[in-house]
């Protein structure tokens, strides 16, 4: 290295205030795979939050709902409305899937925006929202793909594949391409939005630590919610699309 110790020191002092980390991961080795441990840890926290709050809220269900139960029933109603408008009449079996997608992504995004993850220091990398990592979003998007294939195949059998040559066989390549672009767009949209949100906040914090990041953080909250809604809506729409056109 060609830098003098003095300048290194100055730079280090500067970077201590304004350091931004991208692409740093805390790896675990599990069975020959490198696992992004920070994603796992935050996912577990998110799962714990979801399961714990649900268990506490519906532990003692009442006819006239108490506050927690009321809130969760409201959320359930919201998810059911969403799946009903997107999937149509036979939305019932898909409510758990759509709900899981929506709640997991939503709580993940908001945990990234609201929880002070950075208090905990990892040996390498840092904690952030699980959806901040492309692996999580790709996994969710592939699950969605599998779900809509399953929905179409179980509904129509092999005649599901007729939709590839509709309305004309000329569109066959595009229709096949769509099956790849759907998970791609889903995963990259979510990943990019959340990563961008958090990066903007981190950069702003490193520049001006106080007050200035707050509007951006609110924007991040808004975007996170919207992204969760978009992901769930699109997943439901894909499922509905693959099930429609059959009587």
């Amino acid at each position: 290295m060609n830098i003098t110790p003095c300048s290194i020191k100055t730079l280090k002092g500067l970077y201590d205030i304004s350091g931004v980390e991208v692409g740093q991961h805390f790896y675990w080795q599990i069975g020959g795979f490198q696992i992004h441990a920070q994603v796992l840890i935050t996912s577990w926290v998110v799962i714990t939050i979801l399961l714990g709050s649900v268990i506490i809220a519906v532990r003692n269900p009442q006819t006239i709902p108490t506050d927690g139960q009321n809130f969760f029933e409201y959320v359930l109603e919201f998810i059911r409305d969403l799946s009903k408008t997107q999937i149509g009449e036979e939305y019932g079996p898909w409510v758990p899937f759509i709900g899981t997608m929506f709640l997991f992504i939503f709580v993940s995004n908001w945990s990234g925006a609201l929880l002070p993850w950075k208090i905990i220091e990892l040996p390498h990398g840092e904690l952030a929202a699980p959806t901040n990592d492309i692996n999580t979003t790709v996994a969710l998007a592939l699950l969605t793909s599998a779900a809509y294939f399953y929905a179409g195949l179980s509904k129509k059998g092999l005649s599901y594949f007729e939709k590839y040559i509709k309305p004309t066989p000329i569109l066959l390549p595009i229709n096949i391409l769509e099956d790849f672009t759907k998970p791609l767009s889903l995963s990259f949209r979510l990943f990019g939005n959340i990563l961008a949100d958090e990066l903007v906040v981190v950069v702003l914090v490193s520049l001006v630590p106080l007050v200035v990041p707050i509007p951006v953080m609110f924007l991040g909250l808004f975007t996170s919610g919207i992204q969760a809604l978009i992901f769930a809506t699109l997943a439901a729409a894909y499922i509905g699309e693959s099930m429609e056109g059959h009587h």
Partner: protein
Amino acid sequence: MKNVTHSFVFLAHWPFAGSFGLNTDILATNLINLTVVVGVLIFFGKGVLKDLLDNRKQRILSTIRNSEELRRGTLEQLEKARIRLQKVELEADEYRMNGYSEIEREKENLINATSISLEQLEKSKNETLYFEKQRAMNQVRQRVFQQAVQGALGTLNSCLNTELHFRTIRANIGILGAIEWKR
């Protein structure tokens, strides 16, 4: 927080096992901003959420109340209908009883009338029989008498010779004479 230069320096040899720790730098962990954001979120979100949930609760309550009222109304109607049913059943019973007694009476009347006419018929039949018998007996008697008289006439005509004639005349004269003598 580690910085970019560090990561470049350590790129060749990442420590796979490191140590967890607490970052106590308030500015770097963005704690103040987070607190403000969470505070504002709770401050404003609470009202909105409370309104939303209260509305929902009220809706549920009113739905339950409505259905309760409907249920009560239906129960009342059911009760009314049951009472009416009972009344109608009673009336029907009454009518049935009346009908039965009417029928019984009618039957008795009919039986009485029939037996009376039957008796009259019997009587007239008996009378007719009696008269027929009487007539037959009279006819038989007449016939027998006639035959007897004819037989007697025949016998008289065949058996009456002169001597007997005289004897009879004498006997009659003797009877007549005795009657005259007695006078």
